[in-house]
Amino acid sequence: MAEIVAGLQGPVRIAGGGSRGIGGPEMTIETGGLSGISLYEPGALTIVAQAGTPVAEIEAALEAEGQQLAFEPMDHRGLLGTNGAPTIGGVVAANISGPRRIQAGACRDFLLGVRYVDGKGHVVKNGGRVMKNVTGYDLVKLMGGSWGTLGVLTEVSLKVLPKPEAVATLALRADDVSEAVAVMSAALKSPFEVSGAAYDPQEMRVLLRVEGFTDSVAYRVEQLKSTLAGFGEIAEIDGSVERWQAIRDVSAFHGVDGDVWRISVKPSDATGIAQRIGADRTLYDWGGGLIWALVPKGTDLRARLGAFEGHATLVRADAETVEALGRFQPENAGIQALTQGIRQRFDPRGLFNPGLMG
């Protein structure tokens, strides 16, 4: 990989399985050739894999030991209409996390080490395969979520967690966003370890997830029912695995026309934000802190949002719209200068995913 990068004559698109549809230059570096789990120690809760390893392969290996990627990475294929096998390098590069992010943390919180090739063709490693490591600057976090703009990931190590023995889902009616956020906040403020809190305004229903040992789940379900009794009728519903997978993958927007935006906000701001964006359809995850919005093609959602605390990412749109609006929230001048400075030093020739970030 180092040789390939060193020999590059112009900009390239860095892709894992290509399922996140980032667009960019025709010339593409695919990491699929760098595949395989190099080390897995269930007793140490760590796994090391080549960046091009399919997520499915990793999940199968973990499943066999009763473990999982606790940050619950979303599968973008249904939403974006893409093909290809999502890779662990892609998940890390895009810091992809699912509903459990509110309780367990984001992908970047589980990322222990990286190896990558920078724009000069140098192989660089940072972090390692142990859970506690403050040796030098944390470039692991910097590379996670850098969308391939700072280097081509070749190897990642991740912390994994036990897979819960049981899962339960509670459903409550909520007539509007503010009522839903109130319910979800009350649940997340409880000591009963809620690992998912989502709201679908169309169904006017809040879903709450509890996971763990069977008896413990049963106990916490009962406790939550009494804690939340003031919010109306609460029912335990079945099909937990499929329901949360649908929330994770934003299934409600699959095959539905329009642009899709992803907005991260403080949960209590969700109501105001929802009013401002006036979307055709919205979904709320992370207790209201993550808003998925479906809007007519070409809508400049950021113009509707104005100044707000958080960020809006354009996840699905045609190339023209992405070009016009930019995929990521523009940063203020101070942060932009830092971002550009880092990109310039990590990739001085401007080879990697140009135009994607900052």
């Binding site: 992010r101 919180d109 506690k132 040796t135 976090k141 036990p162 209590s268 960020h311 942060i335 830092l338």
Partner: protein, 479 residues
């Protein structure tokens, strides 16, 4: 420990720099008398001392900005300081530096239980963050042993951990946003009450950068609801390897304890003499703590005990009361004090893959014989973060140097088995010269490139983290 030669030009201009600082700070916030600057000559790594040229104690972000702007213009190095509890020399001054102490900035700016965050000024101590929210049954999770004294600023600088990070993570996993002053005096805000700051994860690289990228004055932190209860079980084994296997089996069983602490013979005896915790006489002792409701705790502990029994423990004691729990923890928590009563000690904090535990302990034992210096081991076993305590006599000529050489060998061993030099204390000056053992030149180059972007003149917290020869060209270019 080699330190760069103080810049004579800066030393000569001390009075001019002082005058400028007094224009932007109240008189009581500027310390210039050599008798008083001496108070800042070291942190908790007391073997190294050097009084700074000046010390300042700003009360606002604006004052921090003024100080940094002036020092940047004057070419004066700045050493940010929280509470000075670093065990790695992270706040050790140079003779030509200004210490920037953040202690006066200790206000709580916002508590928000609905969004589960607190916003504080970073001079606030770790424990008093929890103190501000515990009436509502919330807490701030990272719990370094120095939490009574250490400041959030230092926690962010070193990405501090604690005994409970197996479940709750370390500082970086609980930090949502910062207000930070750059060396040129400009102020940037990154992240906030929402999750995952947008753009590149600058927050991630700032956390753990040992005060070399900027001075963080405000932080948004994640707060969590306290669990219903917690209870430890204590188990003793006749063999380190068996204890290590037991840890691995517990983790593989699907239980995630909040803490798994390990102690070896020397530490067990020292703690027992010191705290009378009722520890058994054995080779390896584990304290495993779980959380939840009474029934959940019972269930998890019964599973853990079942696993432990398979490894023929010499002692297996489930706490029956809050009193007994406190006693079990008292021994562990007084480990450093107990060892300190026996002699001077140096505390290391390399991390290893848990599977390498027996091998590493065996090798440390051999090295201990070779050097003639006793070592006690306490260990966050769940996450592999070791704390070997090497005993030595500071008054005996040559003992400190011998201890340092021994310590370096242990840390290199940690790296060689797949671990790292430091799990939670930071590099500081203590492990600076070992960095080249863990990282190749290109690895260090990438880290220094980040520093170039944030602090182009290399003035913030000089002579830490990077070996002096590795950073030399940059430091000279900046002068």
């Amino acid at each position: 420990m080699e330190m760069p030669t103080p810049n004579p030009d800066v030393l000569r201009r001390k009075d001019a720099v002082l005058r400028r600082l007094l224009q932007v700070l109240p008189e009581d916030a500027v310390i210039h008398d050599p008798a008083e600057t001496r108070a800042y000559e070291c942190d908790a790594l007391t073997a190294y001392r050097c009084p700074p040229m000046l010390a300042v104690l700003p009360s606002t972000t604006g004052e921090v900005s003024d100080v940094l702007r002036i020092c940047n213009e004057e070419g004066v190095p700045v050493v940010p300081r929280g509470s000075g509890t670093s065990l790695a020399g992270g706040a050790l001054p140079t003779a030509d530096s200004v210490i920037l102490g953040i202690a006066r900035m200790n206000d709580v700016l916002e508590t928000d239980y609905d969004n589960r965050i607190i916003r504080v000024q970073t001079g606030r101590t770790n424990l008093s963050v929890t103190g501000a929210v515990e009436a509502e049954d919330f807490f701030y999770a990272p719990d370094p042993s120095s939490q009574l004294a250490c400041a959030i600023a230092g926690n962010i600088g070193m990405n501090s951990g604690g005994a409970h990070c197996l479940k709750y993570g370390v500082t970086t996993n609980n930090l949502l946003g910062v207000k930070m002053v750059m060396m040129d005096g400009s102020v940037v805000e990154i992240g906030g009450a929402h999750l995952d700051a947008g753009g590149l994860d600058l927050l991630g690289v700032i956390c753990g950068s040992e005060g070399q990228l900027g001075v963080v004055t405000e932080a948004t932190l994640r707060i969590l609801r306290k669990p219903e209860g917690a209870r430890p079980v204590l188990m003793g084994f006749d063999d380190n390897e068996v204890a290590g296997q037991c840890v691995s089996d517990i983790i593989k069983s699907g239980i995630l304890p909040v803490a798994i602490e390990f102690m070896d013979t020397l530490c067990i005896k020292a703690c027992e003499n010191f705290a009378q915790a009722g520890y058994p006489d054995c080779h390896a002792l584990l304290i495993v703590e779980v959380e939840g409701s009474e029934a959940e705790i019972d269930y998890q502990l019964s599973k853990i005990i079942e696993i432990a029994k398979r490894h023929n423990p010499v002692e297996l004691r489930e706490s029956q009361s809050a009193e007994e729990s406190a006693k079990i923890w008292l021994g562990r928590k007084s480990a450093f004090g107990a060892m300190g009563q026996m002699n001077d000690y140096m505390c290391l904090d390399g991390t290893i893959p848990v599977s390498a535990l027996p091998q590493v302990l065996r090798r440390i034992g051999e090295l201990s014989e070779e050097y003639g210096l006793p070592v006690g081991n306490v260990f966050h076993a769940g996450d592999g973060n070791m704390h070997p305590l090497i005993l030595f006599d500071a008054n005996k000529p040559g003992d400190l140097e011998k201890c340092e050489t021994f310590g370096a060998e242990i840390l290199k061993l940690c790296v060689d088995v797949g671990g790292c030099l430091t799990g939670e204390h930071g590099v500081g000056i203590e492990k600076r010269d070992l960095m080249s053992h863990q990282y190749a030149p290109a690895d260090l180059e990438a880290q220094m490139a980040v520093k170039d972007v944030f602090d182009p003149n290399w003035l913030l917290n000089p002579a830490k983290v990077f070996p002096l020869d590795v950073s030399e060209a940059r430091r000279i270019a900046a002068e």
